[in-house]
């Protein structure tokens, strides 16, 4: 009796068990696919960012370094020349 009940339970559950649901090919398929494609391609085109250019620099302080370095160089050569002229 217990085995019979168990078998009935399995059979009852078998009707509910997952199956490999699939695509079916009929007159609607083409329309479904067209609609599917258009739904997501339109949304994607409007919301996705285009490729962006390369970020300018990895280091935010590069401008400071470049400016400071250039100023120091100018100052250094000016200092050398000025002392020379002063001495003259």
């Amino acid at each position: 009796m217990e085995r019979l009940r168990s078998s009935l339970l399995v059979l009852a559950l078998a009707g509910l068990a997952g199956r490999s649901d699939a695509c079916l090919n009929d007159i609607e398929l083409e329309g479904h696919e067209r609609e599917f494609r258009s739904q997501y391609s339109q949304l994607a085109e409007s919301s996705e960012a285009p490729e962006t250019p390369r970020p300018r620099s990895l280091f935010a302080r590069d401008d400071v370094l470049l400016g400071g370095g250039a100023a120091l160089l100018v100052g250094a050569f000016a200092l050398a020349s000025r002392r020379d002229r002063a001495g003259a």
Binding site: V10, L11, L13, A14, G15, L16, A17, G18, R19, S20, D21, A22, C23, L24, N25, D26, I27, E28, L29, H32, E33, F36, R37, Q39, Y40, S41, L43, A44, S47, E48, A49, P50, E51, T52, P53, R54, P55, S57, L58, F59, R61, D62, D63, L65, L66, G68, G69, L72, L73, G75, A76, F77, L79, A80, S81, R83, D84, R85, G87, A88
Partner: protein, 500 residues
């Protein structure tokens, strides 16, 4: 020292410092990785935007979200009953050997299948196939017959096969064979759905012989027993998966691939067929594949096939987890757990699925917000979203039934014009998830070079200024010690003695 000499020493110091600093910065970044510099990332369209087949539909994450929450229109029984009547009328007006009957027979059989009569549907297509063969048709002309017949045989026999009926299992195998034939004659059809249909049916057949497989793998071969940190083990310390391979920024072929076909499908994160899968009898799916291929196959089967299914929901959850879409994965696990009663005929395996989904969800919740429990909030949002999708489908089907009852023709192109929710966008919008933020190795190298030049110029300036200052101070010190220095004395022009 002469002015020329001081300038020369200053220039030499500047040059030396420039070289040392430039080389130093380059050496310091020699082993730097692009992944460590998100601030350098550019935004690209991710590689899964390139479809598998030319002209195919590219995957969007919103598609997965929408099937899980039933956010798509779906015909109801009233529609298929009406279509069955219309198709039979058309067939009655044609001679049996008229080739125009072939697509109508597909429509008839699919309608019958939708009404739950799989065996009758299979019989209709067997008859059609025999007529096609008699007419000498072959190859791609038989594609829809193979695909439909395979599907009907699988559907019609699955329940009995799962219950252990050997004849039903044989019909199931025959159905898988027809699906394989359909793939052979038309491999690119419908996002490759048939390929995944065959693979999933093979897996479920294997699981009928060994139900423990359902506790080890999902239907595309993602391991269920791996913890999240192992799943993400090869994701280069991002802490979560990504839909693209993190290595691609470091590959020299990247630029070429990107130019030729977006970012190139070679960089899509691969899923399925994980460790041990080689021992599972699934000939249609042997190796890891880009995640969008099974995902699109499942989405297609879900929408155009039999609808929600615990195997599909589980596979979407495991797949989304592996590509970093944790919210979609959480929802997929929620859906799978609610469908667990259809996962297996064995109650213990159904219980396993529920427990597995809860564990995955709990882990996702901890990672999404380590400081507060968010499960209840996610579940409420899921309920609302699912109710929205199912409500839309019910409204759509009620409208169809009412229109048909009122004498409307399902073939009228304006059949849906008066559907009150017609203008409502049921599909979800895409967002940031459809962007790839990538730091390219070439960008890192260029940026390091820029930094090296900046540091080198600064070091050069400091060295030049220091040299110049030091050289300028030297004569002053000599004067203090013992009168004018050599340079000062040399520079002094002798003045003539004043005349008495």
């Amino acid at each position: 020292m002469s002015a020329r000499g001081r300038v020369a020493w200053t220039a030499a110091a500047a040059l030396a410092a420039w070289c040392v600093a430039y080389v130093g910065v380059q050496v310091a970044h020699l082993f730097d990785q692009p992944g460590r510099h998100p601030e350098l990332a550019r935004q690209f369209r991710p590689p899964h935007h390139v479809p598998e087949h030319a002209g195919g539909v590219p995957f969007r994450f919103a598609m997965a979200h929408d099937v899980i929450h039933e956010r798509f229109a779906k015909h109801g029984l009233a529609y298929y009953r009406e279509r069955d009547r219309v198709v039979r009328e058309k067939l009655a007006a044609l001679a049996p050997d008229d080739p125009a009957t072939f697509p109508l027979l597909d429509d008839l059989a699919v309608g019958v299948e939708r009404l739950g009569r799989s065996d009758e549907a299979a019989s209709i297509i067997r008859d059609k196939l025999a007529r096609q063969t008699a007419k000498g048709l072959g190859g791609r002309d038989l594609y829809t017959s193979y695909a439909n017949l395979g599907t009907f045989l699988i559907h019609g026999s699955f329940a009995q096969a799962a219950a252990g009926d050997p004849a039903a299992r044989e019909r199931l195998r025959e159905g898988v064979g027809f699906i394989r034939k359909s793939v052979e004659v038309n491999p690119a059809a419908h996002f490759g759905r048939e390929r995944w249909q065959a693979a999933i049916a093979e897996f479920l057949l294997a699981a009928m012989d060994d139900p423990t497989l359902l506790e080890k793998y999902d239907c595309v071969g993602n391991r269920l027993d791996l913890p999240l940190n192992e799943i993400m083990g090869d994701r280069r310390s991002t802490g979560y998966g990504r839909p693209y391979d993190m290595m691609f920024a470091e590959d020299t072929t990247f630029q070429r691939d990107r130019t030729e076909e977006g970012l190139g499908r070679a960089w899509i994160t691969k899923v399925g067929a994980e460790e041990g899968w080689e021992g599972v009898d699934v000939p249609s799916h042997r190796a890891r594949v880009p995640f969008d291929e099974p995902a699109l196959g499942i989405i297609g089967m879900w929408r155009q096939g039999g609808g929600a299914n615990p195997h599909f929901a589980l596979a979407l959850g495991e797949t989304m987890l592996r590509v970093g879409q944790r919210s979609i994965a959480w929802s997929a696990f929620e859906r799978a757990s609610r469908l667990a009663g259809r996962y297996s005929t064995i109650p213990e395996i159904q219980a396993f699925l529920r427990a597995h989904c809860y564990e995955r969800q709990a882990e996702i919740e901890r990672r999404l917000d380590p400081n507060s429990p968010i499960g209840d909030r996610l579940r409420s949002a899921f309920d609302a979203e699912l109710a929205h999708g199912q409500g839309y489908q019910e409204d759509f089907q009620d409208y169809e039934a009412a229109r048909i009852a009122a004498g409307g023709s399902i073939e009228d192109e304006h059949f849906l014009d008066d559907f009150p929710r017609r203008d409502e966008a049921i599909a979800s919008p895409s967002g940031r998830e459809e962007r790839a933020d990538v730091t390219l190795m070439s960008d890192l190298r260029a940026s390091v070079s820029e930094r090296a030049r900046a540091v080198a110029l600064f070091a050069s300036g400091i060295a030049a200024f220091a040299t110049s200052a030091l050289l300028g101070l030297r004569p002053g010190r000599r004067r203090k010690a013992g009168g004018p220095g050599v340079e000062a004395m040399e520079s002094v022009t002798p003045t003539p003695a004043p005349r008495p």
